[in-house]
Symmetry: C2
Subunit: 329 residues, 2 copies
């Protein structure tokens, strides 16, 4: 589990079966960025540098690898999934007023919120053109529905900020919308475009959902449990914005009635209340319980892989599901 | 031409052949709005009230009417086109810091810019699901490309604000991106889904492009030539934001070297410079020359209709092309 800052090399082996494809996808996206007018090229090139580890397109490519196919549609879909992720990051950072993403300045902080809105729109639409090129209307529709889920999740988060009624149920629904939905679509679309059977598609949808839930819970744990250097943003940033996540939800579920978390929500901007709440959420018992919740989703993801034929793709998907728990950033 | 505030009843007869369909489309969109969670329903219902005259979905429905068909795909597409227009209005008002749209408060002024970004994203994606339900991948891809054009046009506008090098060529390219692209797609998709021939599709694409160009030029004229009550926003708002449009471009093309328009661009926020530039742009000769430019696009739109069979749909499309010139708001 996530209690260690050591990151063994072996955990990233899951890229191997699709590394060449992932490199091609990334090269194509850099080309897309450089082909634009200057006011688009600069923010696009910048945001592609901050988009992270490529877990979503990797899930798509691995899911498509279960059956023999030329991989062309899988690569189109992987590019779409990565671009959609990038677009949502641009808008999320814009509406959250975030200055940093993985230690680098955000598009909204560098080019202004207004430009960030329009660049994000452009990237959302560009991502959709890649899905269109797969020619699969079912996959295209799932993709559009995913954008609806992402924005609904973010809106729900905004609507409940500083409310003391944020429950585990509300939290889980929100992270399904804002994170697990895209992992579900990444896995489902890869499976469909790779020629998977109906049962295999269902298994990979379940895998994607569970990996996405696990990943978001770990992200939310790292908001309290990692250093600013590790995650590239201030510790306790979610709670400072009035958002309860797994650690603070467990803190309220298990803590005293005059809970520091609730006190901090009732006093937005009060640094002392926030510091006390962050300290409580950092309690090792609460962090362990939060990791246990994340771990149960990762285990469910691995369990759903049992429906697939054994092989390098299934092995990598299993490693990836473990990795989302082990990572520190 | 547009020199009169009188709005004869006959100009809006163009709705008649598709009025029942347009009513159904609008009813469906109101239903979509009311089916959401509260934080989406309220802004959606509000923005549907400010979206205007439904010219874009009307173009789609009329274009689909040239050949016998059940009209189902045309109505899906009309709903998509209207929703896409609504989504772009939400984001445009957000990035322009506009408080008023047709005399009503904007989503960003009522619910804040951050919520407006996410509501706009949701509506963009919802619009795409309607296009997906037509099952026509070519039309879906054109739709995604249109969203790219809309955001690129707005970004270009933002990038050139307060620059004194804004030429007619740059302006025409921008309004093609930000306005004519959606009219082109509205007409093209209606034609395709209604079973038009290749030549008819090309004729209707040309029609949509020219109507869109004309409509945007008239909008830009009304920014100077209509009263605040007519257009529901301050006179000269574009120039106050540093944006040159047809009247100010003609003013610079035909005016003195020490042009008040250029002076106002060099002094952002200076009310006196702005007032002098607005006064110049309101010169009847400049307004007439601007209307002549708009009129040439409307005439080109009408000319392209010659490729179509005569009938109520073609008649309405012709009336609509005249109406965009005659309207005062």
């Amino acid at each position: 589990m996530g209690g260690t800052a050591v990151r063994p090399d072996h955990v990233e082996r899951f890229y191997e079966p699709v590394q060449a494809q992932l490199d091609r996808v990334r090269k194509g996206l850099r080309q897309l960025a450089s082909d634009q007018d200057e006011y688009l090229t600069e923010p696009l090139e910048h945001v592609l540098r901050t988009s992270g580890k490529g877990l979503r397109p990797t899930v798509t490519l691995l899911a498509a690898l279960l059956h023999p196919n030329d991989g062309r549609n899988a690569e189109l879909m992987a590019a779409a999934v990565e671009l959609l992720h990038v677009a949502s990051l641009i808008h999320d950072d814009t509406v959250d007023d975030s200055d940093l993403r993985r230690g680098l300045a955000t598009v909204s902080s560098l080019w202004g919120k207004n430009a960030a809105v329009l660049v994000g729109d452009y990237v959302f639409a560009a991502s959709a053109t890649y899905v269109c090129d797969t020619g699969n209307v079912h996959v295209i529709r799932r993709f559009a529905e995913t954008i609806m889920s992402l924005s609904r999740g973010e809106l729900q988060e905004m609507a409940c900020a500083f409310q003391t009624t944020q429950t585990r149920e509300i939290y889980l629904k929100r992270i399904q919308d804002k994170t697990a939905s895209l992992f579900t679509t990444a896995a489902e679309s890869g499976a469909i475009l790779g020629g998977a059977s109906r049962d295999e598609v269902d298994a990979l949808k379940s895998y994607g959902f569970n990996v996405g839930m696990s990943l978001q819970i770990v992200d939310d744990i790292l908001d309290f449990d990692a250093t600013r250097e590790e995650v590239g943003k201030p510790v306790g940033a979610d709670l400072a914005q009035g958002i309860m996540t797994m650690p603070t939800i467990i803190a309220v579920e298990t803590g005293p009635a005059d809970n520091p978390v609730l006190t901090s929500l009732r006093h937005p901007g009060d640094a002392d209340s926030l510091a006390m709440a962050v300290q409580l959420a950092q309690d090792p018992a609460i962090i362990d319980a939060s990791y246990a919740a994340a771990n149960s989703y990762s285990l469910a993801a691995i369990k759903s892989l049992a429906a697939l034929d054994p092989g390098p793709a299934r092995d990598s998907l299993e490693q990836l599901a473990r990795y989302v728990i082990d990572r520190r950033y």
